[in-house]
C-alpha cells in the first residue's frame, strides 16, 4: 500500500532514466535540499535507475518526500524482478562490475546517500531504498 504523496515510475529505457532524474530533482528542491545534496541524490538515482535497466531489464522507482520541519528528505525505492545480487558486499566494492559499467553505481549511490538499504534474492529481484536528508 503506498502512502499519499508517493508516486511511482516504471523504468524501462534511458528516456525513463531522464524522467527519474527530473522527478528526483523536483522533489529535492521541494524538500529544501541544498544544491550539492540535490545533485548527489539525483546522481545516485540516475546510477540506480540505470543499473535496473542494465542488469534487470527494468524496474520500478518510487519517489517520496519524508520527514517534517527542518528534517525533511527525499526517499527513493528502486525495485526490480531481475536476477538478484548473489554477493552484496562484493557488488558494493568500487570497480566490481559484471557488465560494461565502471562498477561504481552501487557503492557510489551508497556514498551519495544519507541512508542506503539493500535487499536482494537471487532469482527473485532486488530492492534498494536510498534517502537523502536535508
Amino acid at each position: 500500500m503506498s502512502n499519499p504523496g508517493t508516486e511511482a515510475l516504471q523504468v524501462r529505457s534511458s528516456d525513463d532514466v531522464v524522467r527519474v532524474r527530473q522527478r528526483v530533482r523536483a522533489l529535492a528542491v521541494d524538500a529544501g535540499l541544498s544544491l550539492v545534496d540535490q545533485t548527489k541524490i539525483v546522481t545516485a538515482a540516475s546510477e540506480l535507475a540505470r543499473n535496473m535497466i542494465d542488469y534487470a531489464g527494468g524496474g520500478k522507482t518510487v519517489f517520496e518526500v519524508v520527514g517534517s520541519g527542518t528534517t525533511r528528505g527525499v526517499r527513493l525505492t528502486f525495485e526490480d524482478k531481475g536476477p538478484g545480487i548473489p554477493d552484496i558486499p562484493l557488488a558494493l566494492k568500487d570497480g566490481y562490475t559484471t557488465g560494461n559499467g565502471l562498477g561504481l553505481g552501487l557503492g557510489g549511490a551508497k556514498r551519495l546517500s544519507s541512508d542506503f538499504v539493500i535487499e536482494s534474492k537471487v532469482g527473485l529481484g532486488t530492492k534498494i531504498v536510498i534517502t537523502r536528508w536535508k
Partner: protein, 128 residues
Amino acid sequence: MDRIPILKLGEALLVTIQVDMHDRLATALEEDLTAKIVSAHAKGVLIDISALEIVDSFIGRMLDNIASVSRILDAETVVVGMRPAVAITLVELGLSLTGVKTALNVERGMELIKRRLEAEAASVESGD
C-alpha cells in the same frame, strides 16, 4: 532525432552539451566527434559541460571514451565548465576522470590546447 552540434574553433572542435542526454544521443555524439576529428584534422576537442547539472557514471564513461579515441587520433580533449556541485558529487561517486583534461571555461581550454600544440611544435623543431 536531434544530434548535438559540433563547431569548429580554430584547430579544435567545440561541443556544448545542454540537454539531459539519453543513450542514443551519447552514442551519436561519440560517432560524430570521431568522424569530425578526422575530417577537420582537429588537434583538440573542447567539451563544454557548464550547462550540465548532473554528470553520472554514464556521462563519465562517455567523456572517458571521447578522450581515449581523440588521443588515438592525435587530438587532446578538454572538458570545461564543470559546476562545483557536480565536481563534489563526482568525487564522492568515485569518478575522478583522470584520463580527461579539465579547464574552467572554453577560453582556458583553448589555451591548454594551444600550449600543447606549441610544445609539440617546439620539440619537433629541436629534433626530439
